[in-house]
């Protein structure tokens, strides 16, 4: 019988939640790395017991941990992220040049074909790759050096590369997103990159339709339709039908077009989930009602999913890496909040339950469906 494993990164530890395919009863393992910020934990699709974790601390900096037994034991791996060549400068908040400085790893994306290859998205924004299971890291500097790097500027959360999406039909093609530079695509496994921001409109920019400078919060894809991408931007929910060459807005009837995560149903490429947040300054749900919105039409027409979610006095946030799905049928959807709850729906979002209530603020949620 299938199992589901939910990997949760929080402000003060990692937790591993497991259940059988019914997804009714959950066991909680943790805290792992107690006292440390765990930005992201993700498993290899090739070997699900191979997990990678980004462990960070204001005192001690960045660590990378690896498990080869599904999170029961962990080993610290190489934690040296050195920019390739002379790092140069990007723009600071006030527009002045600021040197590139490594701060932390936001996102770890294991390869779809090799358990020892894993990508790391870091702050200040850059992409690193390890081909030896985290034993060493090397920058794919074609991204940072492709020409617009000096124009990139941090968002309020820092200048982070937070999204890495690998095309399952073409391993040479990947997408990344940076706050606040925008989305980029490579067709040669990370050697060269091009910005893919046509159609994005950011009123806070001097040129609202500039090539770069957009605050992309998250990009999601269904493996069956790899050219169909969905994006939650700082403002606006967007859709591309041509692998990011062109985007158009599909915010439709959402109560707010601001939010952080976006997720696509595992079996229905046109079924999309977002969690609207009131505004860029008020990072909590509109009206104090925690609502996931689902579109079954690829955007524009959205329905509120509320059953089992708090519908009054709720002022949590859901961060960009804190939503995921399993591959069971019906598809399970999961998200974590800054209030420490992890909510799960075993029926594609119709009903929700908090599978754990009182964790530290949740930074990331990843789900593994195990045979």
């Amino acid at each position: 019988m299938s199992q589901v494993r939910v990997l949760v990164g929080t402000r003060k530890a990692a937790f591993v939640l497991t259940s059988d395919a019914k997804r009714e009863h959950w066991e909680v393992s943790g805290p792992h790395f107690a006292g440390w910020e765990i930005f992201h934990v993700k498993g290899s699709p090739v070997d699900p017991n191979r997990l990678y974790a980004s462990q960070s601390s204001g005192w001690f900096g960045q660590l990378i941990q690896r498990s080869d037994d599904g999170g029961q034991t962990w080993s610290p791996m190489d934690n040296q992220f050195t920019y390739d060549g002379v790092p140069g400068t990007h723009q600071w908040y006030d527009g002045t040049p600021h040197p590139w400085e490594f701060k932390r790893v936001w996102h770890l994306e294991p390869s779809l074909t090799d358990r020892d290859t894993v990508y790391a998205g870091v702050e200040d924004a850059a992409l690193f790759r390890s081909t030896d299971g985290g034993g060493s890291w090397h920058e794919l500097s074609g991204l940072r050096g492709h020409g617009t790097g000096p124009k990139w500027q941090p968002g309020a959360g820092g200048m982070c590369l937070h999204t890495i999406v690998i095309d399952p039909t073409n391993p040479q093609r990947m997408y990344i997103a940076i706050s606040a530079a925008g989305a980029f695509r490579t067709e040669d496994a990370g050697e060269t990159w091009k910005p893919i921001n046509r159609g994005l409109v950011s009123p806070m920019l001097p040129n609202p339709t500039a090539d770069v400078g957009h605050c992309v919060h998250r990009i999601a894809m269904n493996a069956a339709r790899p050219n169909l991408l969905f994006m939650q931007k700082h403002l606006d929910v967007m859709r591309s039908d041509d692998a990011g060459d062109n985007w158009h807005e599909v915010s439709g009837n959402l109560p707010s077009d601001f939010g952080f995560p976006i997720e696509v149903h595992a079996h229905e490429p046109e079924t999309v989930y977002v969690v609207p947040i009131k505004s860029q300054t008020e990072h909590f749900p509109p009206e104090g009602k925690l609502r996931v919105y689902r579109s079954r039409t690829g955007g524009t027409e959205w329905e509120a999913l509320t059953h089992g979610l708090p519908q009054r006095d709720c002022y949590v946030n859901v961060l960009r890496d804190a939503m995921s799905s399993d591959t069971l049928d019906p598809c399970g959807i999961y998200f974590g909040t800054t209030g420490g709850q992890v909510y799960a729906s075993a029926n594609s979002g119709d009903d929700w339950t908090a599978i754990v209530h009182d964790l530290p603020a949740v930074l990331s949620v990843e789900v593994q469906t195990l045979a």
């Binding site: 204001g58 005192w59 960045q62 660590l63 610290p76 934690n79 040296q80």
Partner: protein, 98 residues
């Protein structure tokens, strides 16, 4: 033997308890002590000082003999009491977080 006291998160990371005792070739300096600690416990590389520049991380301090040595040169010889093992070299975390 040089005695080194590490903060508890780093002891947990390195899977050690209590003080660390290390042989350090004279002259005994901060740099040589940290080199010895990192050689014995590679997982601590980058946690006390920058990998490349070897500059002390901002929220890490070095104490010994009731003195704050954090702003001393990493190549300055440490007090005799540290050299002869009477006093430990302390790696201390700043109070931060409220």
């Amino acid at each position: 033997m040089i005695r080194v006291y590490l903060p508890s998160p780093l002891r947990t990371l390195a899977k050690i308890s209590g003080e660390v005792e290390l042989d350090v070739v004279a002259p005994v300096t901060q740099r040589r002590i940290l080199n010895a600690v990192e050689a014995a416990y590679p997982m601590l590389r980058g946690t006390m000082r920058d990998h490349v520049t070897q500059v002390r991380r901002p929220f890490i301090r070095f104490f010994a003999c009731s003195e704050d040595l954090s702003h001393e040169s990493p190549d300055a010889e440490l007090p005799e009491a540290v050299v002869n093992g009477t006093e430990p070299f302390l790696v201390v975390t700043a109070i931060a977080g409220g």
